[in-house]
C-alpha cells in the first residue's frame, strides 16, 4: 500500500528525466508522483495543467517519445529513458510556433487553462496528419476539453496552421 511509502525527503530514489532536450535529476521525490506533478512542482515547468487527474480533459498533454499522453496518468519514475516534450519546449528560444500564433490570431484562447494541452495536441495532430478535415480535427482533439470557447476559434486556428503549412511547403 502506498500509505507505507515515505512521502517527502525520505526517499533515496534518484532518477533522471529528459524534458525538452534537457536532463533533469529528480531527488527526494515521493515515488508515487505523476509526471505532471514532477514537471510542475519539481522541474519548474508549470505549463502543463491539471484539471481532472484522470485523463479526461487533456490539459496536461505532453509528448512522450512522439506520442501525445496525459501526463497526469504517467508515473514520473516510469518516464525515465524517454524523451519528453512539454509546451515550454515547443518554440525555440521563446519564439512562438505557428500553432501558438494561430491560437492568438484566431481567438482560440480565453481563460487559457486548456491552451497548453491543446497546443501540444495540435502540434502532434499536424505532424501525423498535415491536412486534416474538420471532422478529423474534431476527433483528434476530442480528448482536450475547453470550457470557454466552444471550440469554434480553436478549429479555425488549426485550419489556419494547416493552410499556412501547405502554402509554405
Amino acid at each position: 500500500m502506498s500509505i507505507n511509502i515515505p512521502v517527502s525527503g525520505q526517499s533515496n530514489e534518484i532518477y533522471s528525466l529528459s524534458v525538452n532536450g534537457q536532463v533533469h535529476q529528480v531527488k527526494d521525490a515521493w515515488i508515487g508522483e505523476s509526471l505532471l506533478y514532477v514537471l510542475r512542482e519539481r522541474l519548474g515547468l508549470p505549463g502543463s495543467k491539471g484539471a481532472c487527474e484522470q485523463g479526461e480533459c487533456g490539459s496536461c498533454t505532453v509528448i512522450v517519445d512522439s506520442k501525445a499522453v496525459c501526463s497526469c496518468l504517467v508515473m514520473a519514475a516510469d518516464a525515465v529513458n524517454t524523451e519528453i516534450l512539454t509546451v515550454e519546449g515547443l518554440g525555440p528560444n521563446g519564439a512562438l510556433t505557428d500553432v501558438q500564433s494561430a491560437f492568438l490570431s484566431e481567438g482560440g484562447v480565453q481563460c487559457g487553462f486548456c491552451t497548453p494541452g491543446f497546443i501540444v495536441a495540435v502540434h502532434h495532430l499536424l505532424e501525423s496528419n498535415p491536412s486534416p478535415t474538420d471532422d478529423e480535427i474534431r476527433e483528434a482533439l476530442s480528448g482536450n476539453i475547453c470550457r470557454c470557447t466552444g471550440y469554434g476559434r480553436i478549429l479555425e486556428a488549426v485550419r489556419t496552421v494547416a493552410d499556412q503549412r501547405r502554402t509554405n511547403s
Binding site: S8, A51, L104, G107, Q110, C111, N144, R147, G150, I154
Partner: protein
C-alpha cells in the same frame, strides 16, 4: 506638431478591433501564472477534510492522528477561527468549519484543514483525523420545505426566499391555454482551472497577502477579514490567474481555510483542489421545477402567464434569493405580457449548495417559457417563428414587474436575423460517421436519423438588481510618458484586460497601455458576473481615462497654446479643431504626471414589493437561437448539427472576443440540454469527476452561425451590452425543442437523456 490629418480607419487595438489579449502569449507558451501555479519559499500544502454525510451531527473531532504524521505542520478546525464563524455572499450562514455539536448540512461540508509538506502527506493527515458523526436523515425534497413538514436544518429556517409577482388582471382567461411542468437538472460550471489560493502571512503576523482565483477580490477580502478578525486593510488580495469562472468563484471556497492555515502555521500555504473536491467546493446551478401556464387569444397573443417556480438552493444561502428573483422576473421571456401571477420559492435542503452560474436563474425560467412557446405555436397552428414575432417585446413595454423596458429591445430583429441564416445541408446517407448521433460507435444508420429544428429566444438582465450599487473603480495614471490602468476587475478569461487597453487606447490616443496588477490596492470593481464588467468596469476605465484626458488637454492647451475647448483626440494626435494644429499624444504626455481614480455607478434600482412590483433590474439584452439536431430515435443519441443565433450586443467592441463568448456560451447551453448534470441521490453527489460528469467535447460542439445585432445602447457607457450570459440561455430550449420536434415527445426535463428519448 503638424497639421496633417490622421487616418479615419480604426486603429489596431482600439475599440471595435480584434485587439490582442495582453495575456495571450504567456497563455499559449504555458508561462501564464494561474493561481494553481503560484509558489512561495517555505510553502506548505493545504487540504480540506469534508463530511461524507449530507446531514449529521458532529459528536467529536480528534485531530491527534494527523499531528502524528511526519510532515504535518498545522491542523485547523472551527475552534481555530478567530472571528466570524460563518461566511456567505448575501447571508453569512455557512460555517467556515462545521463545529462539534453542530451539524454538517451537505455532503462535502468542510470540517478541518491541514497544512503539510506534500500533497500526499495532506491526504494521509486527512485520513488520520477521526470525526464521530451522529448520522441524520437528510432533507432532500424542496416541496417538504415549502409545505413546512421538513425538519428545520438551519437556525435561519428552510426557506431562503418566497416571492410572488402579481401583475395586471389575474382573472383573465385565455381562449387558448397551454401548460407544462418542467425540470432543470443541477449543472456544474466545470471551469478547467481548479480552485487554488496561496496565502503568505506577514512576518509580524498582523495580516497576509493572498493570491486567489476569484470573481470578486473585494468581497472575498471582506469575508476573509471578518473570519480572521483582522482589518481588511491588513489583507492584500491579488488575482491569481483564473482558469474560467462562470459563477462558481463568486462564493468563498478555500479562501478562508487557506488564510487560517497560513496565519496559524506562520508560513505560506497553498490549497489547490482536485476535480472531485471542486465539485464539493463550489456552488452549482440550481436545479428547479417550474410549472407554467400560458393563456393566449386564438391568434396566439399571450394574455396571461401563471407560474410556480421552485429552486433548490441546497444547504446554504449563497445567492439563492437573487437567483430566484431573476427566475421569476423573467417568467414572460422576451414577450409582451400584461397579466401574470407567479409564485417563486428558493429553499434550503441537504443537497449541495447552489448559487451563481452563467444565466443566473434565467436559464431555468427560459427553459420553461420557450418550451411553452413551442406548445402554444402548435396549438394555435402557427410556426415557432410566427408565435415569437407575434409576441415579441419592444422598448417601452411594461413588464410583469411594472418596470418599463427602457433598454434597446430588438427581439423581432434577433428572431428575423436568426431565421435568415441558411440551414445546414441535409444529412447524407454517406455522411462521415463522426457527424452522426453515436458517432464512430456505428450505432445509427443515417437513413434512420430524424432531424429536428427548434427555437429559443431569451431576455437577460444585466448587472446586479434590487437596489444593489455594484459600482466599479478604475485608476488611470500618466507618468514619464507611460499610461497605466489599474482596476480590481477579475479577468477570468473573458478578456476584460484586453478591453481595458482598447478603451484606454481609444480615449487617450496612445498605443501602449500598461496594466497594473489586479488586486485590492484600488477600489472594488464588483463581481465578474451578471454580464456586467464590460458595462461597469468598462465604464470605470472610460471615465478614469476621460478624467485624465481632461487634465492632459489643460496641460496641452497651455503648453502648446491650443484652444482648450476645441481639443480632441484624432488617432494618436491631439488636434485643435479651430486651428487644425496637432501635437502627438506621446509628446503631450511626456512631461506630465496625471493620476485619476474614478468610479462608475449604474442608475439605482429598487426592491420588489410583496406583489413583485418594482424597477428591480438595470438593463436587458436579448438573443435568439435556432437549433438543428439529428436524433437516433432507437438509442436516443443526438448530434447538434448547427446553432444559428442573432444576439443583441449593443455594439461590438472586439469581434473575435464576442464570437468566442457566443460560441462558448452555446457549448455550455448544449451541455445543459443533453449531457451535463450533477446527479444527486439522497443528498450525495454520484458523479464528481470528468469521467462521469459529461462535458461537450470538440465532436459534440456544433457549427455556430452568428449575427451581431448592433444597435448602440444609449444607457451603456460604451454603447455595448454584456454578452457573456445570453448565449447559454435560450440555446438549451432551442435544442430541446428540436429534439421534441424530431421524436414527437414532450421531454419536459433537461438534460434530455438517451432513455428519455427512446424508452
Amino acid at each position: 506638431m503638424s497639421t496633417t490629418s490622421a487616418s479615419t480607419a480604426l486603429r489596431h487595438g482600439t475599440l471595435g478591433t480584434s485587439a490582442s489579449r495582453p495575456d495571450g502569449v504567456a497563455k499559449v507558451q504555458g508561462g501564464f501564472a494561474f493561481s494553481s501555479d503560484m509558489w512561495a519559499d517555505n510553502m506548505l500544502w493545504g487540504a480540506t477534510l469534508r463530511s461524507p454525510h449530507p446531514y449529521a451531527r458532529i459528536v467529536a473531532i480528534d485531530v491527534s492522528g494527523a499531528y502524528a504524521i511526519d510532515g504535518v505542520v498545522t491542523v485547523v478546525t472551527a475552534v481555530d477561527v478567530p472571528g466570524k464563524l460563518t461566511y456567505g455572499l448575501i447571508v453569512q450562514d455557512q460555517p467556515v468549519f462545521a463545529a462539534i455539536g453542530d451539524t454538517v448540512r451537505y455532503s462535502g461540508e468542510p470540517i478541518a484543514a491541514v497544512a503539510a509538506d506534500h500533497p500526499e502527506t495532506c491526504q494521509r493527515a486527512l485520513a488520520a483525523i477521526k470525526v464521530t458523526y451522529e448520522v441524520l436523515t437528510p432533507v432532500t425534497d424542496p416541496e417538504d420545505c415549502i409545505a413546512g413538514v421538513a425538519e428545520q436544518i438551519h437556525p435561519d429556517g428552510n426557506i431562503f426566499r418566497h416571492q410572488r409577482i402579481v401583475s395586471g388582471d389575474t382573472s383573465v382567461v385565455g381562449a387558448v391555454q397551454v401548460e407544462g411542468e418542467y425540470e432543470i437538472g443541477m449543472q456544474d460550471q466545470a471551469f478547467l482551472g481548479l480552485e487554488s489560493a496561496l496565502a503568505i502571512p506577514d512576518s509580524n503576523g498582523a495580516g497576509l497577502e493572498m493570491y486567489v482565483a476569484t470573481q470578486w477580490l473585494h468581497e472575498d477580502r471582506k469575508q476573509i477579514a471578518d473570519c480572521l478578525n483582522i482589518p481588511e486593510e491588513n489583507i492584500r488580495l491579488v488575482l491569481g490567474g483564473v482558469g474560467g469562472a462562470f459563477g462558481a468563484r463568486e462564493d468563498i471556497s478555500l479562501q478562508v481555510h487557506t488564510a487560517l492555515l497560513a496565519m496559524k502555521a506562520g508560513r505560506p500555504v497553498r490549497i489547490s483542489y482536485g476535480r472531485e473536491e471542486s465539485f464539493y467546493g463550489h456552488v452549482h446551478r440550481h436545479p428547479a421545477k417550474i410549472w407554467m401556464k400560458h393563456h393566449a387569444d386564438l391568434n396566439g397573443k399571450i394574455v396571461k402567464i401563471e407560474s410556480r417556480m421552485v429552486f433548490d438552493g441546497g444547504a446554504y444561502c449563497s445567492t439563492s434569493p437573487a437567483v430566484l428573483i431573476n427566475g421569476i422576473t423573467h417568467t414572460q421571456g422576451p414577450y409582451k405580457c400584461d397579466n401574470a401571477i407567479v409564485d417563486g420559492w428558493a429553499v434550503r435542503t441537504n443537497n449541495p449548495p447552489c448559487g451563481a452560474m452563467r444565466g443566473f436563474g434565467v436559464v431555468q425560467a427560459c427553459f420553461a417559457h420557450e418550451s411553452q412557446m413551442e406548445k402554444l405555436a402548435a396549438v394555435v397552428g402557427v410556426s415557432p417563428v410566427e408565435i415569437r414575432l407575434l409576441n415579441a417585446m419592444e422598448t417601452g413595454d411594461r413588464m410583469i414587474t411594472g418596470q418599463i423596458m427602457d433598454s434597446v429591445a430588438p427581439v423581432a430583429q434577433c428572431i428575423r436575423e436568426t431565421d435568415a441564416i441558411p440551414m445546414p445541408a441535409p444529412l447524407e446517407n454517406n455522411a462521415d460517421l463522426r457527424t452522426i448521433p453515436g458517432g464512430t460507435g456505428l450505432t445509427a444508420q443515417p437513413s434512420n436519423i430524424r432531424r429536428g429544428v427548434g427555437w429559443g429566444v431569451s431576455i437577460k438582465n444585466l448587472m446586479y438588481s434590487e437596489g444593489f450599487d455594484d459600482f466599479s473603480t478604475a485608476r488611470c495614471r500618466i507618468s514619464n510618458g507611460v499610461v497605466t490602468i489599474k482596476f480590481a476587475t477579475s479577468e477570468v478569461g473573458q478578456g476584460f484586460t484586453m478591453l481595458a487597453q482598447q478603451i484606454a487606447r481609444t480615449v487617450l490616443g496612445v498605443d501602449e497601455v500598461i496594466l497594473d496588477t489586479i488586486d485590492t490596492q484600488v477600489g472594488s470593481a464588483g463581481s465578474t458576473s451578471a454580464s456586467r464588467q464590460t458595462w461597469m468596469s468598462g465604464g470605470a476605465v472610460q471615465v478614469a481615462c476621460q478624467a485624465a484626458l481632461a487634465q492632459l488637454f489643460d496641460h496641452v492647451a497651455t503648453k502648446f497654446e491650443m484652444t482648450r475647448s476645441e481639443l480632441e483626440i484624432d488617432g494618436t494626435d491631439i488636434v485643435d479643431r479651430l486651428t487644425q494644429r496637432r501635437v502627438t499624444v506621446s509628446e503631450a504626455i511626456s512631461e506630465i504626471e496625471i493620476d485619476c481614480t474614478e468610479e462608475y455607478h449604474h442608475p439605482p434600482t429598487e426592491d420588489l414589493d410583496e406583489n413583485g412590483q418594482g424597477n428591480c433590474h438595470v438593463a436587458y439584452a436579448f438573443v435568439a437561437h435556432r437549433a438543428v439536431v439529428d436524433v437516433d430515435p432507437e438509442l436516443g443519441l443526438i448530434k447538434v448539427v448547427q446553432i444559428a443565433t442573432a444576439q443583441d450586443v449593443g455594439r461590438v467592441l472586439n469581434p473575435l472576443a464576442a464570437m468566442g463568448q457566443i460560441e462558448g456560451g452555446i457549448a455550455q447551453g448544449l451541455g445543459l440540454a443533453v449531457m451535463e448534470e450533477i446527479i444527486v441521490k439522497d443528498g450525495k453527489v454520484r458523479n464528481p469527476s470528468f469521467t462521469d460528469y459529461l462535458l461537450p467535447t470538440f465532436l459534440d460542439s456544433p457549427t455556430v452561425e452568428m449575427v451581431f445585432i448592433e444597435e448602440h445602447e444609449p444607457k451603456s457607457p460604451l454603447g455595448a451590452k454584456g454578452i457573456g450570459e445570453p448565449p447559454c440561455i435560450s440555446v438549451t430550449p432551442a435544442i430541446a425543442n428540436a429534439i421534441r420536434q424530431a421524436v414527437g415527445r414532450e421531454l419536459p426535463r433537461v438534460p434530455i437523456r438517451p432513455y428519455d428519448i427512446c424508452l
